[in-house]
């Protein structure tokens, strides 16, 4: 029933004010968090961990792209780590070959990766589910093989920019305002924020609505007049673009790129952590990146082999698929609430008996 009369109108006004207040609190929390991440976080950690945080930031963008494909559109891609490698290659090549400003290189790396990703994805998008996953995994394998033979640019000449040298290799340049690791971390966070905003704008507008329809049912989407091929391709292009930008960042972050660092199985790990973090939420991308890039750094510093994580991720994915389809970002708040309720129920009777005595 719709509330009627003055009381109803007042209640409606109140509830909409309440919603506004809540959303402005939310914005304030996010801004505070960002300020802390940008200015507090790097000084709290040693350079070792700042390096890990840069990787977390970059992989958050990659996870965001995969989360978009898996969670919003329902496209299971197992090739995103290879797309990242493509972006890194293009970024590195441009940084050696040109003196273009870094942001421009990032945009170009994103655009070129987008074109490559779409060309590769075009035939693949006719497939769905398991078959799409398989074909993207094979393409990722193919890209890895090609990159292993061409190698990453290291200041050499020609199209490939590789000179076979192992010593006296020039480092890939960084933006002049972000030479040190903490500065590069801040730079990466700003780029990541822009990528998150880009995706958010898409989700809130026409393509986001079309993707929601496609995810639920392609028949329903077609019956709504949506060209499903076009919007799936759009999602693929957007994910490739931001992953390419992430690759451009990675080139500057690592400074020296080797093809051995890009493995086909990274794509599988990526899908695992995206599912664990939560594919339906943008926060899930950050959790996924922490799982994939910060946990190994932590284990390394404790002298524990990060290989254990493969087992942990396996269990994690199993848990997500069986009990928590929306991942950690959805499950954690619920668990905390449940824990709080449990603690309160334990504390309250004790307090009551204490008060009466």
């Amino acid at each position: 029933m719709k509330p009627t009369g003055v009381a109803g109108a007042a209640r409606q006004a109140w509830s909409s004010r309440n919603v506004e207040a809540r959303s402005s609190v939310r914005v304030a929390v996010i801004v505070a968090l960002l300020v802390f991440v940008l200015f507090g976080l790097p000084s709290l950690f040693s350079l070792y961990y700042v390096d890990a945080l840069i990787q977390v930031t970059i992989y958050a963008i990659v996870a965001l792209g995969l989360g978009l494909l898996v969670g919003r559109v329902g496209l299971f891609s197992l090739g995103q780590a290879a797309v990242l490698a493509l972006g890194a290659w293009v970024g590195a090549r441009l940084l050696f070959a040109t003196s273009l400003p870094y942001p421009l290189v990032l945009v170009l790396a994103g655009l070129i990766t987008m074109v490559l990703g779409v060309l590769v994805g075009l035939p693949a998008l006719r497939l769905r589910g398991l078959y799409l996953a398989l074909i993207t995994l094979m393409l990722a394998g193919a890209i890895t093989v090609v990159l292993a033979s061409t190698n990453f640019p290291n200041g050499g000449h020609g199209f490939l920019g590789y000179n076979g040298a192992f010593i006296h290799i020039p480092a890939i340049r960084r933006p002049s305002i972000a030479i040190t690791d903490p500065a590069f971390f801040r730079y990466s966070v700003v780029v990541a924020i822009l990528m998150f905003l880009l995706v958010l704008v898409h989700l809130r507008t026409r393509p986001g609505r079309a993707w929601a329809a496609i995810r639920q049912s392609e028949a329903a989407a077609l019956a709504a007049g949506i060209s499903t091929t076009r919007y799936k391709l759009w999602a693929f292009a957007l994910a490739s673009f931001i992953t390419g930008v992430a690759g451009g960042l990675l080139a500057g972050a690592d400074r020296y790129l080797y093809s051995i660092d890009f493995q086909t199985q990274d794509s599988i790990t990526l899908l695992a952590v995206v599912l664990m973090g939560g594919a339906y939420s943008m926060w899930g991308a950050i959790v996924a990146a922490v799982l994939m890039q910060f946990l190994p750094a932590l284990l390394n510093s404790w002298n524990v082999s990060p290989d254990w994580l493969d087992i942990l991720f396996g269990i994690g994915v199993l848990q997500v698929l069986t009990t928590a389809p929306a991942g950690i970002v959805d499950q954690m708040p619920k668990d905390i609430k449940r824990l709080a309720r449990f603690v309160r129920s334990r504390v309250r009777p004790a307090a009551a008996t204490g008060g009466s005595g």
Partner: protein
Amino acid sequence: MIEVSDLTVRFGGVTPLDRMSVTFDKGTCGLIGPNGAGKTTFFNVLSGFVRPASGTIHAFGEDLLSMVHFRRARWGVRRTFQTEQAIEGLSVFDNVAMIHEHSKLSRGSRRADTLEALSFVGLDVDPDVKVGTLGAGNRRLVEVARAVVGKPRVVLLDEPAAGLPDRETDQMGDVIRRIPDHTGALTILVDHDMDLVSSCCGVTSVLDFGKLIASGPTAEVLRDERVIRAYLGTEPVL
């Protein structure tokens, strides 16, 4: 007006539609038949999800079969599904507005047309709530609002009242009866509820095993011996 002639659909060895020829003139037309008669297949042909083996369909002079599925929706073929398909993750408003968004209508009228469609179906909920939080009856109403928003030319309703309690079925019937006058669209109703079909449709066509066995004024069709036989079988009772 929709003119169907010699429409045949084959799935391997099965022929769900067998040389179906029928004309749906105007208003709300019924399409009934026992389970497996080919009613949903016919809707799927109209929507473009199934390509017929032969036959033609002309809707208001337009050759429907030459249009790609999603363009038919933009042109004005709207439908609801047997298992309701309102988009759970979107708000009630967005669900209806997205149909408008992908039609040829101007952006300026989107908000007004969407709210108008919601009030037409009598949906009494906050347009900003997610469809996933609504009950079955209201979801069906959202789906009908999606089918009537803007300028539909053909509205296909596939068992819109299936599983609804009597009171909500009556409400749905009331909405269906008003669709042709309100939107100008030709409406085709598939349902097993004969009370609903009788109360909504002036004319009704009957399919049985993919063949059109009767077509005409609803009351006459429902008394037709062939129709009764199709529903109850040829074996004498007792």
